[in-house]
Each structure stands twice: as structure tokens, then as C-alpha cells.
Symmetry: C2
Subunit: 182 residues, 2 copies
């Protein structure tokens, strides 16, 4: 890739990160181009669709997911506490910006989605938590990590749309936890 192309690509990602954080997933892409100081054509050449741009933004975020899972898994015993902590972490990770939870959750399990790799990262992280709980025989029965992500992602999406705070989300996560734990 030519040096100027590389530079513009990075500028666009940085600008998009800013704009999406400020204005949510629906922000204008021309605004992103403007903020990056490039023409609209340049934006669309690098990122043919909004989703592809999203995917690029989330590059660094993948590492955060795995770190978060590591951190949760050091807990000993107390399956319910561990699971709830993971759920809350998950909601936080997925709520990168307005509209994020719905976007990510609906791509969950769809390998042809532009953000499929992000979903796989999340699924792998949840799978580690599930495995740990299964090893402790803490689960009622096996549950697919993808299903669990959809449930928790659904809650995150609702909370995102309706501007619910942590306190309102907690009891919903508890219901899900109680629904899967033995």
C-alpha cells in the first residue's frame, strides 16, 4: 500500500472512532471523511460500507475482550458471581457506542457478516467462561455460547436503546444467570 493511502486509512479510523463515540452508529460518513481531512471517495474506497469501517475501529477492542475474560476467570468458586461478572463485562464491551449492542448481537452466528471475526472473539471468550462452569458442574445443562451471547446481547441492546442504567440491567442479567445455572 502506498504511504499516503496508509496514512489516510489511519486518519479515517481515528476520525470514525471519534465521530461514532460522539454521535453513535448512525453518524454521517461524510462527516467522518471531513473530520479526517479526506474526500468522501477516499473513505468509500478504503471502507466500502459502514460495517467494514466499524470492523476496523474495533481492532484494538479484540484484545480487551480476551483480557476481560482472563480477569473474570481468575475468580474461584462462586459460579453465579463469576457468571454475572462476565455478563456485566460483556455488556460493557459490546456497548462501545450507541447502536453497537444491536449490531453486534444480530451478527452473532452469521459468518458472512463484516464483523464476524469480532463476534467469534466474543463467542470464544464466552465459551471459556462456559467451559469453566461446566467443569464445575455449575450449569443446568449445556448451553451454546452463541445463544448465551444472544441473550445477554439482547439485554445490552435494550439497555442501549432505552438508556437504562447498570442498576436496571442487573436484575435482567440475574434472570439469565439463574436460568442457566444448576
Amino acid at each position: 500500500m502506498r504511504a499516503d493511502a496508509q496514512r489516510n486509512r489511519e486518519r479515517l479510523i481515528e476520525a470514525a472512532r471519534e465521530v461514532f463515540r460522539e454521535q453513535g452508529y448512525d453518524a454521517s460518513l461524510d462527516e467522518v471523511a471531513k473530520r479526517a481531512g479526506v474526500g468522501a471517495g477516499t473513505l468509500y474506497r478504503h471502507f466500502p460500507s459502514r460495517d467494514v469501517l466499524m470492523d476496523a475501529i474495533m481492532q484494538s477492542w479484540v484484545d480487551r475482550v480476551n483480557d476481560a475474560a482472563d480477569k473474570v476467570l481468575v475468580r474461584e468458586g462462586d459460579a453465579r458471581g463469576l457468571l454475572l461478572e462476565w455478563f456485566e463485562t460483556y455488556v460493557g464491551l459490546v456497548s462501545v457506542h450507541k447502536g453497537g449492542p444491536a449490531k453486534i448481537t444480530s451478527a452473532m452466528g452469521d459468518d458472512s457478516s463484516p464483523i464476524a471475526t469480532k463476534c467469534q472473539t466474543l463467542t470464544a471468550a464466552t465459551a471459556r467462561v462456559v467451559e469453566r462452569l461446566e467443569a464445575e458442574h455449575a450449569l443446568k445443562e449445556h448451553i451454546e455460547p452463541v445463544q448465551l451471547n444472544r441473550l445477554v446481547g439482547g439485554v445490552a441492546a435494550v439497555a442501549d436503546n432505552a438508556d437504562l442504567d447498570r442498576a436496571a440491567v442487573r436484575p435482567m442479567l440475574e434472570v439469565i444467570a439463574d436460568g442457566v445455572l444448576a
Copy 2:
């Protein structure tokens, strides 16, 4: 209201019902006006926003909600079966068209929403189911009907976005049921 205004209003609702069913919640409003055979101005005068139009469309739908709750409540015993049947019914009711579940669920508990009355209808119906189960001491602890609607609505929204079928939704509803039942 003048007779022609009344007539146009009805035509618009009928057209909107058609267009939204065909193209989902994001369909063009000018298309609705065109299909109704009126100018855009007429549409926006009657329905200042998409949400208000939505609300009008769902008028008849309110009755269906109450009927559905009645039908579920005739079941005797078998709390889990009853609850699951209600959940599935709820998902069906809320999935009036693409984007509906997310729209309705995020308005849940927001009295200033244009579709607040619809949400209240749904909440009242769920409340009846919850009361019945509480009378039978079938619930783990009290749960707010609104919270339950958000959980189930979250699943419905995910299913709607990701085009999941009934079979994929069922296990998620089971998790929620198990989470609230004693």
C-alpha cells in the same frame, strides 16, 4: 374532523400497514403517501412522525394482545408451559414487522414514547400472567412485568435482526423461564 380528512387518514393507515409489512419499519414514508394516493404534506399533517403512524397502525393490534393473554391463561397448572407459551405469543405479537421488536422493547417503560399506550397494553397482559404464576407460588421471586418484557423483547429483537427461526428462539426463552420460575 372533515370527511375528506377522515378518509385520507384511513387510507394512509391502510397503506402504511401494507408498506411496513412488505418493507419493514424503515420503509420510505413518501412511498406510503404515494401508495395512499395523497401528497406527502397530508401524511405529515396527520402523522408528524414515523412513530405516531406506527401507533395508529397498531390500533387493532391491542385487542389481539388481550385475546392472546386470555387464551394462554385458560391453561391449568404447568407453570413452565404456560410461561413459555406466553413468551412465544409475546414474541409473535411484537414481531409485527421488521424492526418492530426493537422499537417496542426500547419504548418499554418510557411513558413519553409515542407508542407508550401499546407498551402499557403489553405490560398489562404480561402482568396478568405474572400475577397468575405468583398466586400459584410458581415464581422464584417477584419480577416486574416490564423487566420480563424487556428480556423477552430483547430475544425477539435479536431474532428479528438475525432472522432466527422459532426453533432457535425457543431455548433462549427457556433460559428466561427457568430464570424466573421457582
